[in-house]
């Protein structure tokens, strides 16, 4: 070997690039797929799960091959270049997936296609990324001459790259570059990293990988310089938005925003779904949403609009001569900028009106900070499909809304409804919203419609409004909307319809939607699932009934199976423990992310900091153990200690969330710091196990040379556990069980694997 044995410094940059490439590809492709699926928590889980599953497959297959070292890095370099080539192709595939699958561009797609597209798009890059990770372990083992610690060192540097890449993609790449520019920049980074790697290889092995890396980097440079990324962007968008004139397409920190022009009409899409249409909005929606609550109030002077004000709502509020001030809170400045960039008479009049005060930021933060009090509060956000969105529909949020209202003030929000028929899922959505509002407001009125309008107040008069009263106020205020007439008011407040809906909702059983027990999110996901994947109805119904004892029973059955398997096949023990750790890590991460979003949704940008904290924790944990590997005498005892620590951490976290749920601790710097610390701790505890598990698995499998080979297996088991955790956590476990119960479930799991590690026999 002519390579510098004992030193692996020339591998550090390629490892950092490998980590960065992974997180950049994952983030960019996730966002591309979310445009295709108008994502919810389940689709997020499936997309990320697809990545993780493919990565696990890649690492497993590389673990079997182990040809990296013998080829002097050639396989690694070629795989890196292939990854770089396939990344932009995957973006292109995501954009033209509907065309490939024969689905009209106008249609949303169901879970069958979600699975197919996620795997189609993620397979190649995810697989290669997992493959490269194990390739790096093999190379590092050879160059450093320390096979036992190679996996831990790669884990550390790759994770460090992930942290750097995560920050770069969130704050630099996505806001300023299009997806193809980002992918090509990463290709360049990979090309240069490959050159560096080749330069330290044995002379006879440099020609092919070196030539390929040089040619590849030059080709990417020329392609970028000649506007290739922009060309790809144009061509792929034409395929994605078939037949539509896309006049703007940009990524904000929060979402993708596209503006489509047609016959003088502008439609503003967020993540592929239309949100605002100008200059003629959905007149029925905006008029009913605004005029019912404003007419129900004897003299509304101050109005707070939480989301969705521009594009009709503010214009309707301004018709009321009593209104003196409108505060409009919008969380994504880029959306309002897009609306400003394509002005119409409607939006210009709304946004330039001196009565209108714009506030960019989080609605809940605004509720907490404002000293103003309002006669009317309008919540105009789509019903939640994600944890992040759910925080505006919880009892805690409604209580905050009540806190900013004047005496006699009225709160209004729309909820998907029907004038024809209610499925059990739709009943649950409405009943849960009503029950949640009831926790904050003693008096309520539901105006039935295809969109139900919920009015709530501390004042009993809201529930007693009549069409005649509203018509009289309409007349007094000399307002002449297009739809709202005395006849229409009578139609919408028709006694028969109200009685019918009241009876339907009375019979529905639904729980209150709370910050740390987000059942409302679950009901919405179950209802939306009916649209595209009615075959999953049963699964959602079943999962909706999960209780903590039932989940624990199922888990104990699984653990029993693991015990039986481990007794028969000792090699199963360590992968089983590690997959449980992967699952736990994912649940910890989700809980802490969601918990942070609940309390600090206004600092959405800081999600990058959270990722860094967690990944940094993993890297540090992995490095700490790797660095002391030589000193560790009793691997098994250390593993037991680590298992014990994860178990105790889960219990501790359960107590923490119980405390958070009990009080309003949002905004406190101490709480903020505690989230960061908890994420670091969660990462550290789970990261520590990986290098140890790789070495320990050799003992359990009885194969003295298994350390290298088992890297792939252990990495795959870790990722597989994470996949299951990601899929089940955000979709079912956290919404249905709530935060505290999820922690208890993880504690039971890790308690079980702790016992497994205690009693399992070695080969």
């Amino acid at each position: 070997m002519s390579e510098k044995a004992g030193s692996y410094s020339n591998l550090i940059l390629p490892l950092l690039v490998l980590g960065a490439s992974g997180i950049v590809a994952q983030t960019v492709l996730l966002r591309e797929l979310l445009i295709l699926f108008a994502g919810n928590e389940l689709s997020l889980g499936i997309i990320i799960g697809a990545w993780v599953a493919c990565e696990a497959l890649g690492s497993l297959s590389a673990g079997r091959g182990l040809r990296f070292a013998r080829s002097g890095g050639r396989t690694f370099v070629l795989a890196s270049l292939l990854f770089s080539l396939l990344f932009p192709l995957a973006i292109y595939l995501a954009r033209i997936y509907k065309e490939l699958a024969g689905i009209p561009a106008e249609l949303g797609v169901g879970f069958g296609h979600l699975f197919a597209a996620s795997f189609l798009v993620m397979t190649s890059v995810g697989f290669l990324h997992g493959f490269l990770f194990i390739g790096a372990c093999s190379l590092l083992a050879e160059r450093s001459g320390a096979a036992a610690t190679a996996a831990g060192r790669v884990y550390f540097w790759e994770t460090a790259g992930t942290v750097i890449g995560g920050i770069a993609v969130s704050y630099l790449l996505i806001p300023y570059l299009n997806s193809f520019q980002t992918a090509l920049l990463m290709a360049l980074a990979n090309g240069f990293a490959s050159l560096l790697l080749v330069s330290t290889s044995a002379k006879g092995k440099r020609l092919l990988p070196g030539g390929a890396a040089i040619l590849f980097s030059l080709a990417v440079l020329v392609f970028l310089a000649r506007g290739g990324a922009e060309w790809l962007q144009r061509v792929s968008l034409a395929g994605e938005w078939k037949g539509k004139e896309v006049v703007a397409y940009r990524n904000s920190f929060y979402q993708n925003i596209a503006v489509v022009r047609n016959e003088g009409q502008y439609t503003f899409f967020t993540d592929g779904v239309p949100l605002v249409t100008t200059p003629v909005p959905d007149i029925a929606y905006v008029e009913e949403f605004v005029h019912f609550p404003l007419l129900a109030h004897p003299a509304p002077a101050s109005v707070l609009v939480l989301g969705g004000g521009a594009g009709g709502v503010i214009a309707e509020i301004l018709r009321h001569p009593t209104v003196r001030r409108i505060d409009y809170v919008e969380s994504d400045p880029a959306l309002l900028q897009a609306i400003r960039d394509f002005p119409t008479q409607l939006t210009t009049a709304e946004l330039a009106n001196p009565l209108v005060h714009l506030h960019y930021g989080d609605p809940r933060l605004y509720l907490r900070r404002t000293a103003l009090r309002y006669d009317i509060v309008l919540l105009n956000l789509p019903l939640p499909q994600t944890m992040q969105a759910n925080r505006h529909f919880t009892s805690q949020c409604f209580a905050a809304i009540r806190g900013v209202m004047n005496k006699g003030g009225i709160f209004a929000m729309p909820v998907t409804g029907s004038l024809t028929y209610y499925t059990p899922q739709l009943k649950a959505v409405n009943a849960s919203c009503l029950a949640t509002i009831a926790a904050a407001f003693p008096h309520r009125l539901v105006v039935p419609g295809d969109t139900n309008l919920l009015l709530a107040s501390a004042d009993p008069r809201v529930a007693a409004v009549t069409p005649q009263l509203l018509a009289a106020r309409l007349n007094d205020r000399k307002i002449a909307p297009r739809l709202i007439t005395p006849e229409h008011l009578a139609l919408r407040l028709d006694g028969e319809k109200m009685e019918w809906l009241g009876r339907i909702l009375q019979g529905a059983r639904a729980e209150v939607n709370r910050d740390f027990s987000p059942m409302g999110l679950y009901y919405n996901m179950a209802h939306r699932t009916l649209l595209f994947s009615p075959q999953l109805k049963g699964m959602f119904q079943l999962a909706g009934g999960i209780t903590l004892p039932a989940a624990v029973t199922a888990l104990l059955a699984l653990l029993l199976l693991a015990f039986l398997l481990a007794a028969r096949y000792p090699a199963v023990t360590v992968p089983a423990v590690i997959s449980a750790t992967g699952f736990s890590a994912m649940i910890f991460e989700l809980l802490l992310f969601f918990g942070f979003q609940l309390l600090y949704g206004h600092v959405f940008q800081l999600v990058g900091v959270l990722t860094c904290a967690f990944m940094g924790g993993i890297a540090t944990g992995s490095l700490a153990v790797t660095a002391s590997m030589a000193k560790i005498r009793n691997d098994r005892r250390l593993l037991l200690l680590m298992e014990c620590a994860i178990f105790l951490f889960a219990v501790f976290l359960a107590v923490v969330f119980k405390l958070f749920a009990a009080g309003d601790s949002a905004g406190s710097p101490a709480v903020y710091a505690s989230f960061i610390l908890l994420l670091i701790a969660a990462g550290f505890l789970t990261g520590m196990e990986f290098p140890l598990a790789v070495r320990l698995s050799a003992r359990f499998s009885g194969d003295a040379f298994a350390a290298e080979r088992s890297s792939g297996l252990i990495y795959g088991a870790d990722l597989a556990g994470g996949f299951v955790g990601g899929l089940l956590g955000g979709t079912f476990l956290i919404p249905v069980l709530g935060f505290t119960s999820c922690c208890i479930l993880v504690a039971v799991l890790k308690g079980g694997t702790l016992l497994l590690a205690v009693f399992a026999r070695e080969a």
């Binding site: 108008a38 009209p104 561009a105 106008e106 249609l107 949303g108 078939k242 037949g243 539509k244 489509v260 047609n262 016959e263 003088g264 009409q265 439609t267 899409f269 592929g272 779904v273 239309p274 249409t277 003629v280 959905d282 007149i283 029925a284 008029e287 029907s418 004038l419 024809t420 028929y421 209610y422 499925t423 739709l426 295809d450 909307p481 297009r482 739809l483 007439t485 006849e487 229409h488 139609l491 028709d494 028969e496 319809k497 009685e499 019918w500 009876r503 019979g507 009916l530 649209l531 595209f532 009615p534």
Partner: protein, 367 residues
């Protein structure tokens, strides 16, 4: 089935009370049924449904494409007979009928199922479902007619889903309605065979047919249906003396080509007469068609203008409250005759079905 005593009790109640009494009696797997009309028994226990142009051959134990007709032991049953999943009192303008009993209320019913698969269906929860899966009321045809009369409704509307799927229920209800002096109207996709339609027409007073597009490709790709049978239905209805109005939901990029719209209007004028009201409705993202903008109002106005140029006298714009295209104007002197907003009629200035200015007869049934 409902006992005699229960039935009599139902009759005593108003519609509201009836619904309270009859609510959600039947659950999944327990919808009542009766033997279907229009089918043929085949060998091996299979049956051929002859109700709609789809012509399903249904194996024993299976349901047809519409999910509302099931082969049980070699006999075809119409599921959901006397078991509507929806009963409501609606303004007739909601159907929409603009030239038929304005300002009246229609006793509106539906049973689950549909023989098309439109990706933009408004009532997908029940149209893309089976009567076996919905919560249904118990409402025999007699009770529907009595309740409609008691509620002061001038008509019974078969609507929300595709009424062809509950053909037997509709037919029997229409007969009893006719006996009670109640008119029968339906809102349909028009995808029905000629023979059953002919039988239905004996009791049908008005029909609003969704002419979803005017190209076979649109029907095939967006609705999983065919255009030609719908056009045949329209001609049959006209021939049989049923009052016909047409609704065309204009979807951007799918069926908004003005030359095609012009051809459609010309076809309507030539085959159904210039007096046939045509409603162009604004589309909003719905059901599975979510990644698409709403229809620009300009497109609807151009479509209306084009159809009027083609010779149609009454062309409307729907789902755009406050638009002049919601109103009825005299085709001769252009006087505003009926002013509408949404489903409300704000002014009705006809005198015995004629324009008060020039005396021109305005087509339709006004009282």
């Amino acid at each position: 089935m409902l006992g005699r005593r229960d039935f009599l009790k139902l009759l005593l109640f108003s519609s509201l009370a009836m619904k309270a009494e009859a609510a959600e009696i039947f659950r999944k797997g327990n919808a009542p049924s009766r033997e279907a009309l229009y089918y043929r028994k085949l060998e091996s226990g299979r049956v051929a449904c002859l109700l709609c142009p789809r012509g399903c051959t249904i194996a024993a134990g299976s349901t047809g494409f519409c999910r509302a007709r099931k082969n049980i032991g070699g006999t075809l049953y119409a599921l959901g007979y006397a078991a509507p999943c929806a009963i409501h009192l609606d303004p007739i303008e909601k159907k929409p009928f603009f030239h038929f009993l304005p300002k009246s209320r229609a006793y509106s019913i539906a049973s689950a199922g549909c023989n098309l698969r439109c990706k933009f269906c408004q009532n997908w929860e029940i149209s893309q479902s089976s009567p076996l899966d919905t919560f249904n009321y118990t409402a025999p045809p007699e009770s529907i007619a009595h309740a409609a009369a008691r509620q002061g409704c001038k008509s019974i509307a078969y609507t929300y889903t595709e009424p062809t799927n509950y053909f037997e229920f509709m037919l029997d209800t229409a007969k009893t309605g006719r006996d009670e002096g109640i008119l029968n109207v339906y809102h349909s996709n028009g995808f029905i065979n000629r023979e059953p339609l002919k039988e239905l027409c004996r009791f049908l007073d008005a029909a609003n047919i969704d002419l979803k597009g005017f190209t076979p490709a649109f029907y095939r790709e967006v609705c999983e249906g065919e255009l030609e049978p719908v056009l045949e239905t329209l001609k049959s209805l006209k021939r049989e003396g049923v009052w016909v109005e047409i609704t065309n939901l204009v979807i951007p990029g799918k069926n908004d080509d003005l030359t095609v719209i012009r051809r459609m209007a010309e076809w309507v004028r030539a085959n159904l007469g210039p007096e046939t009201p045509l409603h162009f409705s604004r589309f909003f993202p719905l059901y599975r068609m979510t990644h698409i903008p709403p229809t620009p109002v300009e497109t609807l106005e151009k479509a209306r203008s084009s159809a009027r140029q083609a010779g149609l006298k009454y062309v409307y714009v729907g789902n755009v409250p406050g638009n002049a295209g919601e109103n009825t104007y005299c085709p001769k002197c252009a006087r505003l005759l009926v002013r509408r907003s949404g489903f409300s009629v704000l002014e009705l200035q006809l005198k015995e079905g004629r324009c008060p200015s020039c005396g021109t007869r305005i087509h339709g049934r006004w009282t």
